[in-house]
């Protein structure tokens, strides 16, 4: 197992190197240069030349690529063209917001999706099954921006239970230790802040978690139905085990593997940021930052962001692979 993990981690290096070069090439070949975007209507020959020189854009391609790879090897992602800030700082300022939102959304999706899926499978063909699968189908096909606005109108405007946008109220001041506001509020032992932060987290998490919830529910239902028809389930029942024990200990654990794959994939996607959800809820995550960086041809920032997301995606999937083996001892990696 250790050898497997180490080998997978080693594979990370060539994968990331490949991704870096491809991203660099893509950005380099796309028309429109960063200096132009930054100066907008105000660009004239002199300011453009000065800014291009400042950004190193006047250098030949191979020199730029060389600088880039050299910097990367020393762990230096450079400064953003758009914001003058170090890319590492930019990422560390925004990534906690994305992590917090992803965690909350996935918690909602996993708890909700597993419950719906299990209930539907057990009560197959019943009222509950139809109802929850209708909800799941609606969840998958719902446009995110629409869901977000409906939730805001319902729970923040018509019934003003929750705040409309942002991560915390203007009246709250929290020392930023981790950038995860829930954790920061707990560290500060500030219950008012914690309540405020959780209330801000609720709607974005539901919005972002709805599609994964629906996917997880459907996947759980279908794989559980398959397992429930197996001989060993009948044997377990015949032994006189209670239906709940049969379901939880024998069926769900085995039915969980395909669901786990889905969860890992969704988790990976969400960690890459969610542009629409972040935009509507004014959530300062990595998705919008990366989107703006692409528009601005801020290629150092794009580079850094893509590398981060690729790394996370690979790591999340690695964790999922390891979990497979733990869940089902028949799976072994050699």
């Amino acid at each position: 197992m250790t050898a497997f993990i180490l080998r997978r981690l080693a594979l990370l290096i060539p994968t990331l190197a490949g991704i870096s070069v491809v991203v660099f090439l893509m950005i380099y070949l796309v028309p429109g240069d960063p200096a132009q975007v930054m100066l907008g209507e105000r660009a004239n020959a002199e300011t453009l030349a000065a800014l291009r020189q400042e950004l190193g854009l006047d250098q030949p391609f191979h020199i730029q690529l060389g600088h880039f790879i050299g910097d990367l090897l020393t762990g230096n992602l450079g400064r953003s063209f758009r914001t003058h800030e170090k890319i590492t700082v930019e990422i560390f300022q925004r990534f906690p917001a994305t992590v917090e939102l992803t965690m909350a959304a996935m918690l909602f999706a996993i708890v909700g999706g597993l419950s719906l899926g299990m209930v539907s499978a057990v009560r197959r063909g019943g009222m509950v099954d139809y109802l929850s699968m209708t909800v799941a189908t609606a969840g998958i096909s719902m446009p995110v921006f629409w869901l977000a606005l409906i939730l805001i109108l319902l729970f923040a405007v018509e019934i003003p239970l929750l705040p409309i946008s942002g991560r915390m109220s203007a009246s709250i001041y929290l020392e930023a230790h981790t950038g995860l506001y829930v954790v920061d509020a707990i560290l500060a032992a500030d219950l008012v802040a914690l309540g405020d932060v959780l209330r801000h987290l609720a709607l974005p998490a539901i919005t972002l978690g709805t599609i994964p919830l629906a996917v997880i529910a459907r996947m759980t239902r279908s794989s559980l139905l398959e397992i429930l028809g197996e001989d060993y389930i009948r044997t377990a029942r015949a032994k006189g085990l209670s239906p709940l024990i049969v379901l939880l200990r024998h069926a769900v654990r085995n039915a969980f593997i395909p669901t786990l794959t889905v969860i890992a994939l969704e988790f990976g996607y969400l960690l890459g940021g969610a542009i629409i959800t972040e935009t509507i809820y004014a959530w300062p995550g990595i998705g919008r930052w990366l989107f703006l960086a692409v528009l601005a041809r801020d290629f150092r920032a794009v580079q850094g962001g893509v590398l981060l997301i690729a790394t996370l995606f690979i790591l999340v999937n690695l964790v999922a692979d390891v979990l497979y083996a733990w869940l089902d001892p028949r799976i072994r990696y050699s």
Binding site: Q36, E41, R82, Y173, L191, A202, R288
Partner: protein, 529 residues
């Protein structure tokens, strides 16, 4: 079942936490004198000499001050950190007499050395801070200050002298712009490349906190040399989506916002809890015809296009009435605006006649270029282009719309690859030179060109140069009026609209005034009936 009970308990605890924040939805109430202002983008940086975006300026407006500033509601230049100034006979030597009762937010005294540092770092190539670690002094270059200024020096603590290469009238207005703000030399030296997120000025508010893409918090400067601000705290909150911004304002969670979407204007007008503010904007949106490409080298064709476009319908349909149809390149609120020019009437028949005179009775095929990004002077560029396309079709001009993203668009348009293109401009310092010279002078038609009509008129150029050299406003007015007549006759553009600036506030916010330059000053803002 113990497990179930534990889950229930956790759920109840979570609900309790959610509920305990209930009722504080608005976060900051009037009693705390915290004002939250929502805007559509975060600032890029808070070093005013490095930035070019309006959202950075909005915050800098409240942190920094300049030698001179603009009077409320106009672009008239008035003293700020300079008590007064003298100009030598030749119009080249400017002596500024500085205030002696001002300190920066970090305690550094304000004096002529600080002025020399703030302006000198942009001007002197051998200044230790001439090359910023990131970014460049774009505005200094863009406003041509390297050519305008010959030297500068601190004579004593309270006297600062700038020597110009030749007399230049718009120069004084430039000193009021954000890039000429005076900053604490101590802070710049201490923070170096990270100064942009540790700003220190002399303004009525000092910097407290910046959570990227979330909020910037300022607090009242208690040591302010003039009457201090009323607000304890001023928060700029980033809410990108315009409908969410509006809902936040309606709910009272934020107290003010700008850049309103046209669809909310009526709702805000009718809401007794909100107030709408408007101000004729110092901007222009225009349709430029590339005179380097036929048939736009023929003035009859350019006039025909002018007659074909229905500007009134653009204003009514895409600006919710919050714009005025443009006649001249400069907006009507600017001094020297020529109100004797009546503009080209919307007259498709006259347009057809002019085309026939130019041997184009059957019309012609052309490209109409448009950007995807909404701009202050053009909130819905795509739809506006379609409306213009339909107007042109009425007179037989078959325009194919070419849509490009902002980056590529500017790149290609400045390179003259278009037939017709829409673009615009927001003025910086209230001087007509800042519109006419930048956008239409022949020297601006060198690629990458800001003069995207590639209009090259020697007569026009001579008038603008003469107006730059004169400091006599009456004489400058005459010259600029003449220049507007020439542009009108040559018709390199279809001037489309001047968009109105908008902002909305809660009913209990008083003292805010929109300024023609787009500056957002909060010193006099307070809560009250």
């Amino acid at each position: 079942m113990g497990c179930l009970r534990r889950i229930m308990a956790a759920a109840l605890l979570a609900l309790g936490l959610l509920a305990c924040g209930g009722g504080t939805n608005s976060g900051a109430g009037p009693k705390d004198t915290v004002l939250v202002f929502a805007r559509g983008s975060d600032s890029v940086g808070l070093d005013p000499a490095l930035e070019t975006d309006g959202e950075s300026m909005k915050v800098c407006d409240n942190l920094y001050e300049n030698l001179v500033t603009y009077a409320a509601g106009t672009t008239e230049v008035i003293p700020q950190l300079a008590r007064s100034w003298d100009v030598g006979q030749d119009g080249r030597h400017w002596t500024f007499h500085l205030r002696t009762d001002v300190t920066f937010h970090d305690g550094t005294p304000f004096d002529a050395e600080a002025v020399l540092f703030s302006l000198g770092r942009q001007f002197f190539p051998d200044h230790p801070f001439h090359k910023p670690a990131a970014g460049t002094y774009s505005y200094w270059k863009d406003m041509g200050m390297d050519a305008v200024v010959a030297d500068m020096s601190a004579v004593d603590d309270s006297t600062f002298v700038i020597e110009l290469a030749e007399a230049n009238a718009p120069f004084l207005s430039n000193l009021g712009m954000n890039f000429c703000a005076i900053l604490s030399p101590t802070a710049v030296r201490r923070h170096g490349a990270d100064y942009f997120k540790n700003p220190v000025g002399t303004g009525p508010f000092r910097f407290v906190e910046w959570r990227k893409d979330e909020r910037i918090v300022l607090a009242r400067n208690e040591q302010y040399w003039d009457r201090p601000a009323d607000l304890d705290r001023l928060i700029f909150k980033y809410v990108q989506d315009p409908s969410v911004r509006y809902l936040e304002l309606r709910s009272g969670a934020v107290h003010g916002m700008d850049n309103l979407s046209p669809e909310f204007i009526d709702a805000i007008r009718q809401d007794a809890d909100l107030k709408l503010q408007t101000q004729p904007g110092m901007n222009v949106g225009y349709l430029a015809m590339n005179m380097e490409r036929p048939p736009y080298d023929d003035v009859r064709v350019r006039r025909a296009v002018n007659h074909a476009v229905n500007k009134r319908s653009l204003v009514d349909n895409f600006y919710a009435g919050l714009a005025v149809p443009a006649i001249n390149p400069i907006p009507p609120m600017m001094w020297s605006y020529h109100d004797g020019i009546s503009g080209y009437e919307h007259d498709p028949r006259r347009a057809r006649e002019l085309l026939a005179e130019a041997d184009l009775a059957d019309g012609f095929d052309t490209e109409l270029w448009v950007m995807t990004a909404p701009r202050p002077y053009m909130p819905q560029p795509g739809k506006i282009a379609q409306a213009i396309q339909a107007d042109l079709a009425q007179v037989g001009i078959r325009a194919r719309i070419v849509t490009l993203d902002w980056a590529t668009y500017l790149d290609k348009v400045f390179d003259g690859q278009h037939g017709m293109c829409v673009l615009g401009w927001t003025g910086d310092n209230g001087d007509p030179d800042n519109f006419l010279y930048v956008l239409l002078d022949k020297t601006a038609a060198v690629k990458p060109a800001q003069n995207v009509a590639f209009y090259k008129s020697d007569v026009f150029h001579d008038l603008l140069v003469a107006a730059r050299r004169s400091t006599d406003v009456a004489q400058r007015t005459r010259l600029y009026r003449r220049a507007q007549e020439i542009v009108h006759a040559d018709a390199p553009w279809v001037p489309l609209v001047h968009a109105t600036q908008t902002a909305a506030f809660r009913g209990d916010v008083k003292g805010f005034e929109l300024h023609p330059t787009g500056s957002k000053w909060f010193r006099s803002v307070a809560f009250g009936p």
